[in-house]
Symmetry: C2
Subunit: 360 residues, 2 copies
């Protein structure tokens, strides 16, 4: 072990384990909440046209100005309210780097997105997490009372999928004003009923993180964006690495926004399929969280039962996500909503498990 490494890293961090990627050919991959519908053909043809007469030897735009302008028009914002990152991960990391100093308090919920804790550790911050409410919504009052320098939440939450009303998040933003920043990770927001954008112009301490990875079928380009108060964004832009986004990724994102009708149609299909899958799973007797993401979170009978289901599905070439290292949710599994055909296969496999393999 290298003695040159910061103690806080050596003693508290280990390598992030994401959803399994190297799965057998032809297997059904429902473990990373990727979009089961292909990327917009307009994105692909735009990239191919660019490549035919490309300028890849040149640096990309330092600040992704054209993409920011496009996003501003699409979301009715100012360009100065936007920052771009390699995935919402880099946006979130930049928020931490801008706001959180060594010894500061970072608060979040359990469960939530795993990277918040990692970024807090890297900043040398104290990380404090509060349990979700009984209905799995975000515990607003508890988070206000803790008064973190940065409070990070995901809405709809991950991996439960449960949505907390924006009026509640507004209460949180207001309660934290003067003390700290509220970061709202809206990775899955396009699959739900509302969003927090209207808080941006009202509160100087709110930042929203968004991504092209889910609703836009573009996880491969790693494109995320942050939206917030201009003053705050200006500083995040100071901290952001210049030229951080490759040319092709910028071009792909702009083209995806040009073809939002296509994206919108896929979102509608996914919501429809989510409701279908949820209904059928409940009919099978599963406890399914009221998810508003592009995935379902399912509470199994026991931790053992959850593990057995994950393994049984794997034997059927279906890969889902299991968070066994978090005791609070080790009895649950997360399944990405697939196409209708895929969802039928998942249901058939689970039915077979229940009939023949569940330990009574």
């Amino acid at each position: 072990m290298s003695s040159y490494v910061r103690r806080v890293i050596r003693e508290n961090l280990k390598k992030y384990v994401g959803g399994e990627q190297r799965i057998p050919k032809g297997a059904i991959k429902l473990n990373q909440n990727e979009n089961e519908y292909p990327t917009s053909p307009h994105v692909i043809s735009t990239l191919i046209n660019y490549l035919k007469n490309n300028d890849l030897r040149r640096y990309p735009e330092q600040d992704s100005e054209t993409l920011k302008d496009k996003l501003a028009r699409c979301y009715n914002l100012k360009s100065e309210q936007i920052t771009i990152g390699n995935g919402s991960d880099e946006v979130i990391a930049n928020v931490f780097k801008t706001i959180v100093d060594k010894g500061d308090l970072v608060t979040s919920t359990n469960p939530t997105y795993g990277m918040f804790k990692i970024y807090a550790i890297e900043a040398g911050a104290n990380y404090y997490e509060v349990d979700l409410n009984d209905d799995y919504t975000i515990p607003i009052d508890k988070l206000i009372n803790v008064r973190g320098k940065l409070t990070a939440v995901t809405n709809p939450n991950s991996p439960t999928g449960v949505f907390t009303k924006i009026s509640e998040l507004e209460k949180l933003a207001k309660g934290l004003q003067g003390y700290g920043v509220l970061l709202i990770d809206e990775t899955y927001v396009d699959f739900t009923r509302d969003n927090a954008l209207r808080l941006i112009n009202k509160y100087d301490n709110v930042i929203i993180a968004r991504t092209f990875s889910k609703s836009f079928s573009l996880a491969g380009i790693r494109l995320g964006f942050g939206i917030g108060n201009e003053d705050l964004i200006e500083w995040i832009e100071v901290v952001r690495n210049p030229y951080n986004i490759g040319t092709l990724n910028q071009i792909a994102a702009i083209a995806a926004l040009e073809d939002y009708t296509y994206v919108k149609k896929n979102i509608e299909r996914i919501i429809e399929e989510r409701e279908f899958l949820k209904k059928k799973l409940r009919e099978l007797g599963f406890y399914v969280y009221p998810s508003e993401g592009n995935f379902l979170f399912i509470k199994c009978k026991t931790v053992e039962d959850a593990k057995n289901i994950v393994n049984f599905l794997k034997s059927k070439n279906i890969y889902v996500r299991y968070f066994g290292d978090n005791p609070k949710i080790a009895d649950s599994i997360r399944i990405t909503v697939g196409t209708h055909e895929i969802n039928i296969k998942v249901l058939q496999a689970l039915e077979e498990y229940l009939q023949n393999y569940r330990i009574k």
Copy 2:
């Protein structure tokens, strides 16, 4: 000004200003050390083929494993000695995040690459820079004496282009052992006579940063890599954002390595042109640093003279780089080596300036 921003950021940082990007159509752009020869056609056709049957809705490889394996084979390394970043900038940022704690000492030279100081400030570190030797090489003994937790140098140096012998850097690595890490930014190494790779297996405190932006004509994909001792790299990999590199960028880099013959030929042409341009500039009476990069650094008569040259060239539609905010080099300009045709135009413009516009 947002009160939520870390004091160290608010008081010490301002937005990074890179080489001008929005230049008139048809202008000659020699201000970012981009490669004047186009990207390998093999890279472009590989990307187009991928796009025709793409999987962009999927996340990229979490750790760029395939690219690492390819780099390991090309450079005779182990994959475990390699880390990948969005540009060498992200690699360098990850080195800082892994090694440098608040209050630690970061040392470097003046002048050198501008981002070292920025990352040091962001880490809350103390940044100490020593002047270069009289011949513009790196002052090894002075850097050893300061014993930084992280010592960051660029070789060949930027923006001077001067090369420090690897035996000297080895002395530095040895002198720092037990105290700190030596980061060697080898952005321009492919245009010079030697490199520091052989130090990796000998010293546990050396990390080398490389890039596809210069010799590979691929600044647009923002692809950098770090090479170092396995123990150290393992921790940088813990700190690195998972899935940080987009699929297209990984594919482009792999294809570029497959077509290294093409890259090599361009490197040779650039070196030849550099020597031609250097000779001619010296004949015109300029003091030209003995650059071993893909650029030349030219000391003008005065700060005023340097500014006048930059502006005169701009009036001729030629954009070069001026570092006016660093008093130590405000009398100098940096010019990227172009194609022969471009270099002739630069020489003609400078000749015209000398004959008709230089203030005697």
